[in-house]
């Protein structure tokens, strides 16, 4: 005698089938949305890595240089070099280095110093007579044999001079030296599109003359060219006469500095405000009304467009406070950028740390008060440590936002800061520098088809993303460790 006699449990009724089909549909829809998102992410990363691949490496050849027995004064007379070799360098240095290259490459070892023991005939088999028999071609190219060769390389002159002056004992010695190729030669050697001069644009190395291409082809044939990792990208400044050498050193430095400022300013102020609003702020009467006004405005601040913060920062830190601020706050300086980013990050940190404080179980506070802890002890010994992972998450989100923020930095002129660069030393709070996001936009502006520069835009993206991702990894690591230590 079963009590369930009246209750018939059919195994596969129509209702069950319908319910299951709905469940399946939901799973398929949500799964495909997730797949689509993953696909977009993969496409994004692939695009970035593909776009950056040209910048990974640089072409070099190794040559031997002989330092002279004693330093010789340089002749800085007029030169055959027609290429403008950089806005920042003194003319003398340029001339001198050009002549060194020329002398080195044609094997004239007796007139100038230091000399590169290298004969272009030896390396390539291209004779001066070959040069004469071929047309030189385009106007910006030097019209002499020495000039043609010299244009293929980056001036080593300043380097040799500095080495020699710093270390006179080099006199009379011979050392190997890695000679870097110039931008055009580098693009040609590695098969990338260079600057379009003739307008047709698709030919690699279109700015090189047929003779120069012949020389480079020979160097490749004879395996003289090495491709090396382009580490100088991380340390060089970006306004370089040779685009192949341009880098984001000051931009990295400025972005890290601004993050430091954000941490120093927004973390204490933001978490402090969160604590005040959660534990001390009056809730009733006139002051309570004021508290609620402030709360509403903090929430609103989080959604103010970043460019508005930029304009406000420009007005406050540069124009109004500039003279009385303890720092010399000028346009495009990390101190101003950092303060603007701090203001932007503040609401995020306040809102998230309040949420984290609110999420602390009230029973812990009760327990702490119950054994006689004061308010301060309760907050700093129990509530804050417990809320720490949540606060940290908010801070990391805010920092990641701040380091990628572009608009306010554009407003204070950090993109256009290509004419100056960070001075010597680590702290350059008051120097005009670019930052990482503005560097991306700067490199991207070379829309003339120069892959050397466009690839640097993607490389900057990779650097920026790695910083943000490693910050996130650090945060989740700390969160995980705190959670593990808390739960047995």
């Amino acid at each position: 005698m079963s009590n369930f006699g009246a209750l018939k449990l059919s195994k596969r009724s129509a209702r069950v089938a319908r319910r299951r089909s709905v469940d399946r549909l939901l799973a398929i829809v949500s799964g495909s949305v997730l797949g689509f998102v993953a696909l977009i992410l993969v496409a994004l990363f692939w695009d970035v890595i593909d776009g950056a691949k040209m910048g990974w490496k640089r072409a070099e050849i190794t040559v031997e240089i002989s330092y002279p027995d004693e330093p010789v004064l340089y002749n800085s007379g007029p030169t055959f070099v027609t290429e403008s070799a950089g806005l920042l360098r003194p003319r003398e240095v340029r001339v001198e280095s050009r002549r060194i290259i020329r002398d080195a490459l044609i094997g004239n070892r007796n007139v100038y110093d230091p000399q590169i023991v290298l004969s272009i005939e030896e390396l390539t088999g291209v004779k001066q007579s070959d040069f004469n028999s071929r047309s030189v071609g385009l106007p910006p190219v030097a019209a002499t044999y020495e000039g043609q060769i010299g244009q293929l390389f980056i001036d080593p002159g300043p380097y040799f001079k500095a080495r020699f002056e710093a270390n006179p004992s080099l006199a009379g010695t011979t050392k190997p030296y890695s000679l870097a190729f110039s931008t055009d030669a580098d693009s040609y050697l590695r098969g990338f599109r260079s600057i379009l001069v003739d307008g047709s644009g698709k030919i690699p190395g279109s700015r090189l003359s047929p003779f120069q291409r012949l020389v480079l082809d020979r160097l490749i044939e004879r395996n003289n060219v090495r491709k090396v990792w382009n580490w100088s990208f991380l340390s060089n400044a970006y306004p370089q006469s040779q685009r192949v050498l341009s880098g984001i050193g000051p931009a990295i430095q400025a972005s890290l500095l601004m993050m430091l400022i954000v941490i120093l300013v927004s973390l204490p102020v933001g978490v402090g405000s969160g604590i005040f609003l959660e534990f001390f702020a009056p809730r009733r009467g006139f002051w309570g009304w004021l508290t609620s006004i402030i709360e509403i405005n903090i929430n609103n601040l989080a959604s103010v467009p970043s460019i508005v913060f930029g304009l406000m920062g420009l007005a406050i830190f540069v124009q109004a406070w500039g003279p009385i601020f303890i720092f010399d706050t000028g346009l495009a300086t990390p101190i101003v950028g950092g303060l603007i980013l701090s203001l932007m990050t503040l609401p995020t940190i306040v809102v998230t740390s309040r949420a984290a404080l609110l999420a602390v179980p009230p029973s812990f506070q009760q327990a702490a008060y119950g054994i006689g802890a004061s308010k301060m002890q309760t907050i700093f010994r129990f509530v804050l440590p417990y809320a720490f992972p949540g606060i940290l998450t908010g801070v990391i989100i805010g920092l990641a936002q701040a380091i990628g923020e572009t608009a306010p930095l554009v407003v204070i002129g950090m993109v256009a800061a290509e004419v100056t660069m960070c001075r010597e030393g680590l702290l350059c709070l008051e120097d005009q520098t670019p930052a990482l996001p503005t560097a991306i936009s700067y490199f991207r502006r070379f829309m003339d088809g120069d892959q050397q520069m466009v690839s640097r835009s993607y490389m900057t993206i990779i650097v920026l993303l790695s910083i943000v991702l490693s910050m996130n990894a650090l945060a989740s690591n700390i969160r995980g460790r705190v959670a593990r230590s808390r739960q047995g």
């Binding site: 812990f364 327990a367 008060y369 119950g370 054994i371 006689g372 802890a373 004061s374 440590p385 047995g488």
Partner: protein, 254 residues
């Protein structure tokens, strides 16, 4: 410290904003004994319990009037140092709420903030003593550095009791200490309470009339913010004087 810790309530009223949660409570509690507060939900028994260590201060809208006297001292006066009061009047909550710290730190925290121990050895001795009194020492002596939240529910509650008695209080307040525990853990805690009553004055709120009968010496019955009756437990349960008490005990409401 005097020999007897006499607790008296005189005209205690508690207001939450406009509404009154307790009206004119007058009672005297026995020293070194368990007094149980019983009554239906919302009758004010927990509210009164929280008056004894001024936990109502934490609620913005709560206002307590009247006098609560321990050792001739009115603890409800503004001059009373709440921190010192809470050292002398420990509290155990409904749900076990150890701090998210190690077992040792849970117990050591009270003595530490009140500056009761001069050095590490003293602190360690005190932690051991508190855990022993709470009947937990044997179970945890070899894992004092492990998190308190890793213990079972009953062990956590005993840890909370150890934490409360580590500051050497005279009075222990217990707010339904067994309501979140299984029957076996409840039995252990009840035995422990009986043991602790030899050295502390214990005030316990409970929903279980059986528990009140098992554990307490005196029982107070509250209804809708009024103290209806307080009497020795046996007497109150066998022979209640008030009609409300009689009805409640017979299960007519509550």
């Amino acid at each position: 410290m005097t020999e007897t810790t006499n607790i008296q309530c005189r005209n205690v009223n508690v207001f939450y904003g406009e509404s009154d949660a307790l009206r004119n409570v007058n009672m005297t509690l026995k020293d070194k004994a368990v007094t149980a507060f019983i009554g239906p939900s919302g009758c004010g028994k927990s509210t009164l319990l929280r008056c004894f260590n001024r936990m109502n201060d934490l609620i913005d809208i709560a206002k307590v009037t009247g006098e609560i006297i321990i050792d001739g001292q009115n603890l409800n006066s503004p001059e009373t140092d709440v921190v010192e009061l809470r050292q002398r009047v420990g509290m155990v909550f409904q749900k076990p709420n150890p701090f998210p710290k190690s077992i040792f730190e849970n117990v050591a925290y009270g003595p530490r903030i009140h500056g009761l121990c001069r050095n590490r050895t003293e602190l360690h001795d005190r932690v051991e003593e508190a855990l022993t009194r709470a009947g937990l020492w044997k179970e945890v002596s070899d894992r004092l550095r492990e998190p308190g939240l890793g213990l079972s529910g009953g062990q956590q509650q005993r840890l909370c009791i150890a934490r409360a008695i580590a500051t050497e209080p005279e009075v222990l307040l217990m707010d339904e200490p067994c309501s979140a525990l299984d029957p076996i853990a409840t039995t252990i805690i009840e035995d422990l309470i009986g043991e602790l009553a030899k050295s502390y004055t214990i005030i316990m709120v409970t929903h279980s009339m059986a528990q009140a009968q098992r554990v307490s010496e005196d029982t107070a019955f509250f209804y809708k913010g009024d103290l209806i009756e307080i009497a020795p437990t046996k007497e109150l349960f066998r022979n209640p004087k008030q009609a409300y008490t009689k009805q409640y005990l017979s299960g007519s409401f509550g």
